[in-house]
Point group: C2
Chain length 165, copies 2
Amino acid sequence: MRLTTKGRYAVTAVLDLSFHQQAGPVSLADISERQEISLSYLEQLFARLRRNGIVVSTRGPGGGYTLSRPAEEISIAEIIVAVDESYEAANCSETGNCNGHNQCLTHDLWHELSQEIHRFLNGISLAEIHSSQGVAEVAERQNSRYRPQTGIVAPLKKMAVEPAD
Amino acid sequence: MRLTTKGRYAVTAVLDLSFHQQAGPVSLADISERQEISLSYLEQLFARLRRNGIVVSTRGPGGGYTLSRPAEEISIAEIIVAVDESYEAANCSETGNCNGHNQCLTHDLWHELSQEIHRFLNGISLAEIHSSQGVAEVAERQNSRYRPQTGIVAPLKKMAVEPAD
DNA sequence: TCAATTCCTAGTAAAATGGTCAAGTATTCG
DNA sequence: CGAATACTTGACCATTTTACTAGGAATTGA
């Protein structure tokens, strides 16, 4: 599992979608304007999100995208993985310099780590972020074009992790 | 916090170092050969690792690198951050498209997430990986040039995370 | 039919990644 | 001292990824 800006864009966009879909499908043009992500980039991202069953599309006028499931059932991990595609098996074990002999000290480590992070992000649903205090404030700001208060945000609640001491 | 192959390379290299330093400083040439990472790329990585106080260098014949501290006190997060450098503040809040008005829905989310992952990786020390069953096996294989068993590895112990349900 | 919208393909500039090359500087063994 | 070893620095490069542009096709509501 990689963590890059691409996944971040995707999460932003889907989160925006989850905030606005109650009034029907949300067009990418709207998301593009609100989040300042280029339309065509959104098209790329949403093509993958659609192929991965995270969103469904409605064509024609008034069309757009809708979450395929309730926000409670969509995790951050899912979104990031959908948008990244490839890579998972590409780095080791099959291709590359690690196929069959003494290589790749951290192969297993990385795999475990990757899974752990995946598990972590899988435990956070869109709905949880949606209901997070700070995000809601920002979202409202984006609706009503207010000036921001510089206040910092309440941390997400469900994200507590027991650090190994 | 980003997770890319660069950080992975760095962790691999430092882990290799931790396995071999008891006989004195380890040269990058050795690590390069064992881990099949190009010498010059290692030089880049170790320059940053040194600047960040993770390793110390010894010059002259028989020189090389050594961990600056016991492996118990070096976390995976530290290594990855050292090698990544930049980025932390670069994406939002100061530069970019998010400076002062209604932008960046996931800014706070990402920050929290990032910190959470950081906290997680910070809870895993080199020493823990060192003593992890599977990694030790692979390391031994790399020393003695055995053929690998395809067996999968015991998961790291301290990495348990309470998934938000 | 018309316009809104998704869908698809192709291309592309800029950045990041992963790595090479070359010319150093320090250190220390002999 | 001299040479070998090893780190240091900086320029450079190929490839991939990122983020975006352009253009058009398909679909559908009004």
